[in-house]
Symmetry: C2
Subunit: 222 residues, 2 copies
DNA sequence: TATAATAAAACTGTATACTGTATAAATGAT
DNA sequence: ATCATTTATACAGTATACAGTTTTATTATA
């Protein structure tokens, strides 16, 4: 019998996906700045591929609302206004509320443990002023809630929405007053989920997102 | 002085957009059926273009959740389960509620008139059993509400969401009991908007979408 | 007749070549 | 110098060519 390496079918990624992930990342992290033009040739050279996969990746990024394509002019990183941020966070609020309602109804012990674990991570990171850590554990915290909702479409939309305001996340967390407010929100969310108290969950989550909106919009004025 | 034809800058559409619109339409109308494979060469020949714009259009359709791309295998029209429909309509409900809250707060006279006009169209079409007409005036009715909300991101997401369940729209409207229920919903929505009664609007809209969900899921069982 | 091995065909993935249109640079007129 | 006019350049849009992989058809084998 002949042996083969067990090749994971997921191992292969088309170049367009690689390019897509690359660019997406660079945009989210702010390495590619709003308004910056994305020249196909330039990107292709830099990434060591031909224009074809770059172009396809750009079409995907357009649909994700991360870049803007102007016919015969090319792509540029989408700029986002204060109004946009308000609009996006309003949508996020509505969807997070849906998701926590479900979570309050049917979250199991396992997920609840996870939720608490990520929250511990979250608080610790805050103590250490490790904002990168705060951000990632915050994401994980919310992810548990989405997943508990058991609505995959919801997860997809929220993560798309989030990508659009990702850049402003750090500014938010670093604002001094955020810390105590957000830690409280999270604790209340856990309590609501634990007690299966939908109304409470809904209320706290709405506050949580509204607070975030306030702070981000405030910080934008400067 | 020399005259030139006033050339509208928006007149030019890249082929990928043309192909995209074409395929999108065909999928929404059910001419391309769920599960059906979309062969690049075939489509390119049929539309009289090369594979390049077809491929780019497919990437866009993937991001719109209308087709599924399997690496090295190609594209196929995305199939949708009852679960998906439930999930999607739950999201739609949340977003329509957001939008009607705004509409109740700040809809102007002009838009209100439009709303009533489309609703008259809607009721008349129902009388004439012109379901195509019912569907389009219903769309316009809801569009007025979205637009009143003044949140462009919301409009974009809802229309994407709607595209995914577009196929089931007719089955819904043709169910006998739908007629009276929906006509009532619409009338109540108008009343709520007119009286700036947010709570009422929210309640009616939620019912409206829930009803739709019920009927569609029911009709799927057959 | 089923099953495995092999060969052929059909597709997708990627690169490259070509075309036409904007944009920027260079030239010339006022 | 400033503005218009031409020319050159850079770029996106589209088509095509080729490579590699999967699927299907064909043949061989039990």
């Amino acid at each position: 019998m002949e042996y083969k390496f067990e090749v994971n079918a997921n191992e292969y990624l088309p170049l367009r996906e690689v390019v897509f992930n690359n660019l997406r990342d660079a945009i989210l992290k702010g390495q590619l700045k709003p308004g910056e033009r994305l020249l196909e040739n330039h990107l292709a050279d830099k990434l060591g591929v031909s224009r074809t996969p770059v172009r396809e990746a750009l079409r995907m990024l357009e649909q994700e609302n991360l870049v803007e394509l102007i016919p015969r002019r090319g792509a540029q990183v989408l700029d986002i206004s204060a109004e946009d941020i308000k609009n996006i966070l309003e949508i996020r609020k509505a969807l997070e509320v849906v998701s926590i309602r479900h979570a309050c109804q049917k979250m199991d012990e396992e997920s609840l443990k996870e939720l608490k674990a990520y929250n511990a991570e979250f608080e610790k990171a805050f103590e250490n002023e490790d904002y990168e850590g705060v951000a990632t554990s915050d994401e994980k915290f919310h992810d548990v809630l989405f997943r508990a909702a058991g609505n995959l479409k919801l997860v997809a939309i929220i993560s798309n929405i989030q990508a659009q305001v990702y850049r402003y996340r750090m500014a938010y967390l670093k604002v001094y007053e955020t810390k105590t407010a957000v830690i409280n929100h999270h604790r209340n969310i856990i309590e609501a989920v634990e007690k299966h108290n939908e109304e409470m969950g809904e209320k706290v989550m709405a506050e949580h997102i509204e607070h975030q909106t306030q702070v981000i919009l405030e910080s934008l004025k400067k």
